[in-house]
Subunit: 375 residues, 2 copies
């Protein structure tokens, strides 16, 4: 496909580093994609998101189709122009979110009929409509329309769901057509069952995609089971295509996923946590609301280059969080996104140097220290 390619530059164990090239720029892998649900990464200006080192954002088809509407975004020049972000954008298919609308949606072979959570209006998402919406948005990396059950689930239900998703994958591929410079990713399903994961991987490769996601994880199964699946599921996907683990995760989830051969991830955690006062640091999670920070002149993390750490004390961040000032969400989100991007950069460097194992040991050792002692 013209304008979209993936190349690996180094591997270390199963961990891989490389680059995805798109018409809108290069994505260094392993890559973490901040989530811009409603055409904004909450509490951030796009230039600030870029300043953290993010090469790509994720946009949500479900939210954008409802508000402001895909046809409107198209008339306004596409999502990049609309939200003032010129680098690549990956959009999900909307499938995961509409399936979460318990009681408000109805699943058929054709697709999912649902009611908007905003105004109760009726909508239908199908593989064909999802491809159309993602085209209207101008997404660089388009995801197949799929669905998945929450875990744990009966193997029979997981198998039926996976096979429906594979039929939808074929319909997505057909509807996507030939769009030079835009990539279509398939999504492996099959829950925690090796045979189903293998069947799904085979079905997807028969259709042929520009990249492959591991779907249906981070849906309630816990880290141990997720890692068990990641011990075999990514190996079933082509070596020469990017592998994307959807909706993951906490820092140690991300490290464990990269270790198991994942190239791309996304999660709302760093931005959502920023708004609720949960801060990710090298030494673990800090709750800025805690009274122990009220008189602490030290930064969140001495080693961090973000504006929150360069310009402000924990005492200030504690104060503005307590006072419910917007600058609290702005600074803590920035810090968390910076932490995630620094994490990815550290892993890329370690994989390239062949020192991923040492890097991972240090990562866990730093976290075991716990937050710095109170003043």
């Amino acid at each position: 496909m013209t304008g979209f390619s993936f190349s690996l530059s180094a591997t270390d164990g199963k961990a891989r580093t490389g680059a995805i090239t798109t018409l809108r720029g290069t994505i260094r892998t392993p890559a973490f994609m901040p989530v811009g649900t409603a055409a904004t990464v909450k509490a951030m200006l796009p230039e600030s998101v870029a300043a953290t080192g993010a090469d790509i954002l994720l946009g949500n088809t479900y939210h954008l189709m409802l508000r402001p509407g895909a046809e409107r975004v198209d008339r306004l020049g596409g999502l990049h122009e609309f939200m003032n972000w010129s680098k690549p954008i990956l959009t999900d298919s909307g499938g995961f979110q509409v399936m979460s609308l318990a009681g408000l949606r109805k699943l058929t072979e054709e697709g999912v009929a649902f009611k908007s959570h905003i105004d109760g209006s009726r909508h239908m998402l199908t593989p064909e409509r999802s491809m159309e919406i993602q085209r209207l948005l101008g997404s660089d990396i388009v995801m197949c329309f799929d669905e998945c059950p929450a875990l744990p689930a009966e193997e029979k239900a997981v198998a039926e769901s996976m096979r429906l998703s594979m039929r939808w994958a074929q319909r997505s591929r057909d509807a996507f057509g030939d769009r030079p410079g835009h990539a279509l990713f398939g999504i492996q399903q099959g829950g925690v069952t090796r045979d189903l994961r293998a069947e799904s991987a085979e079905a997807l490769q028969e259709i042929g995609f520009d990249g492959y996601a591991v779907g249906g994880l981070a849906v309630g199964e816990g880290q141990e089971i997720m890692f068990d699946v990641l011990d075999f599921a990514p190996d079933m996907l082509p070596v020469d295509k990017p592998r994307y683990l959807m909706g993951v995760g906490k820092p140690d989830d991300i490290v464990g996923a990269v270790k198991r051969g994942i190239d791309m991830m996304d999660c709302v955690l760093p931005s959502r946590s920023g708004r609720t006062g949960q801060v990710f640091t090298r030494r673990g999670v800090v709750n800025i609301k805690n009274a122990r920070h009220a008189d602490d002149p030290r930064p969140l993390d001495e080693g961090c280059s973000c504006p929150a750490c360069r310009g402000y004390s924990r005492a200030y961040l504690h104060h503005v969080f307590r006072a419910q000032e917007m600058i609290s969400g702005m600074l803590l989100t920035w810090h968390n996104l910076q932490y995630y991007q620094d994490l990815m950069a550290g892993m890329r460097e370690a994989i390239a140097a062949g020192t991923f194992c040492d890097w991972e040991n240090q990562f866990h050792a730093d976290r075991a220290l716990g937050d710095i002692e109170p003043v």
Copy 2:
């Protein structure tokens, strides 16, 4: 006073332009001071406030004494260090805000006893305590502790209130002491009555201050009455000291005040309006919530250099306001503060060029056009 001075470089009618020099930098006058109530200009990073052209911020003694507390700010290196703002800060005395706590405060000759709106804790503000708090905060320009009645009010009540404020002005002066590099401003009271304004101005000048505020306006009297008072009140104050109109105002209030010889102003309006979707432009106020913007690809104001106008359409700003995204308050506040600073810069330039009258006519003509036609 060492480290604090005021010099006029030009006048045009009663309008004046010049500069206040402080140890922390120069304040170009006429100056608009954004309000940083709780150690943050809401929805803005301080470097963004500076980027709009603001030379000075206002901090609120009442809010800061309650949370995080003046002694704590002092321990943490002062308000500049705490909030990451290195340019000058003016603090109010807390008097206006505690007097607004109807039912929660008691006024005596000594000062005002009140209960915190945050936790109901009991506090006392006196001229001496206000001076101490403003010193602990590290304020560059300290305001006398005063009080004023809402207008309209009986002349007798206004006179008694003004005379109490003048006794408090003397106590403020005594308590302030000699603090090179830090300025103390007196506050003229007297409501709408010429004789009382004159009496107040004379009392203040006998005490002697580094600058003089016109207080007790913008408290419900309306623009016409405010301008009537500004037609005579500033003339009663020394020509060679800065004149500060407290709590003003809308763009046309500000233009009318500068025309009448005011050098400094502050108001929450641009930042508060930014959060509620009210946008100030050359052609008047725009309500971004209005459905007419939903498909409008044009910027808020073609001539504005702020990030909201450079990077986003009205359609986007409408979308993120409706979706209650934080970026809405961030971008609209930035725009409004930029508009206010551009307004001040335009007036400074016009006064220097002796063309203030032409400038003012154009200002009103532009506003009379109304917002641009819908697409």
